[in-house]
Subunit: 138 residues, 4 copies
């Protein structure tokens, strides 16, 4: 399993444009954080849906790499999000990912998204990632 620092460095190098940072990694799991500012807000003071999806995508990606290694290629094949509550305009978004299956060619995980400090989640995501045959043979 990779350390939080290895994953954080990798993310910063490979995705310099992401605003997500790695909070923690664990067994088949990861937690990421996304600061919320003017760019992430919609009229009415809510975090835009695509921002929530992007946080979930990064949380899944970090959890998967933590499990199968940084050299692996993974491609998002399906992402399904349920918006549950209006996120806070003043709090970071936290994405809490648990992998449900780590197969040779398919990986499935779920992410619960929170506005930091609130108990009830703002959204829930299930994502499927394909590991291309080239890497799958590792």
């Amino acid at each position: 399993m990779l350390s939080k620092n290895e994953l954080a460095t990798f993310l910063a190098t490979e995705f310099p444009q992401t605003k997500c940072s790695v909070e923690s990694v664990g067994l088949r799991s990861a937690k990421v954080r996304h600061e919320i500012g003017f760019e992430e807000l919609r009229p009415g003071g809510t975090v835009s849906g695509p921002v929530l999806m992007a946080v979930a995508d990064v949380a899944l990606y970090v959890a998967i790499l933590g499990e199968i290694g940084l050299e692996a290629l993974t491609v998002t094949t399906n992402l399904s999000i349920n918006f549950l509550r209006k996120p806070s305009a003043d709090a970071d978004i936290i994405g809490d990912c648990v992998l449900l299956k780590v197969g040779k060619t398919l990986i499935v995980g779920e992410v619960t998204l929170y506005s930091e400090g609130l108990v009830d989640p703002v959204a829930h995501v299930v994502g499927t990632y394909s590991v291309p045959p080239a890497t799958a043979g590792r």
Copy 2:
């Protein structure tokens, strides 16, 4: 919150054709069981997908009624299932439901499905239920 017995009686009366039985109900949660026999199996000795979906649907239904009452009407609007592992042909299917949101008009929950006795889930479901306005005004 309704008791397990109230929900079990209701289910047996309203859905005499279901093979699901109520194992337990809790705060925004429910557990149901489905016996597996010849009718539920596909060639190759695996439980058919629609059976798994039906178990998830009942688990969500029971958890929702436990929360909002037996007189309520609910309509499944969306169900998304990820098949994770081949279920056992010899074990009951257990559906473990947790509600993620109980809103006035929309309820969202997830169900993790197991072959009894195995640790890793065989499938994972997220479902959305609509509470029609007539009942929503309760």
Copy 3:
């Protein structure tokens, strides 16, 4: 591409328990029919959700086999259904499938489900199927 008769014979042999019959097959597409009787109905005279999901699953399966051959193995990995309208209790369910992607290891398709004779669909399904490496190398 396989003929309708080849697929119908295959389905009847491999899935003797299915009530679906093959209506037509075409380029990356298939249409199936499911008779509706007492067993498929819920209280209130509506077709049960799992029946609709089962019809969609067969429609996708037939369309996929029509494309990649009867010897192929495919495994449903994800199925997402939106229930749109109450199906008629007196009409067959028709499942109209179009494949959106036929990849080497992943196939994605959508199915629109109708109560025969009605214009507006009763449900819409998107499904993902995995073609295991053994067959993928064909």
Copy 4:
């Protein structure tokens, strides 16, 4: 039904940060365009997933407003995306939306996403939108 110009003006006013423009609106349908530049690309020269989801969200939003009016409130409740092919780094993304159901409280639609000039879609989205009771009574 609202005109393309009315919807384009509304979108530009209400969502000044969106890069989507309205291509056309029709009966229960809409087409939008999103220019692709450096900001939308991932390493490897592919359009990022959240950008595709954002285009789908706008296409659904425009189609819905075209149907139920600009004064209506709608909230995305579920969005499910299947990534089908690698988008081109050099072509605009086109989102083609068709509404499957326009109910009083729930609206469901699908969006097929293309890299302009290519026949095969790069992604497919199904989204559900809730119309809050206040507006639902319109």
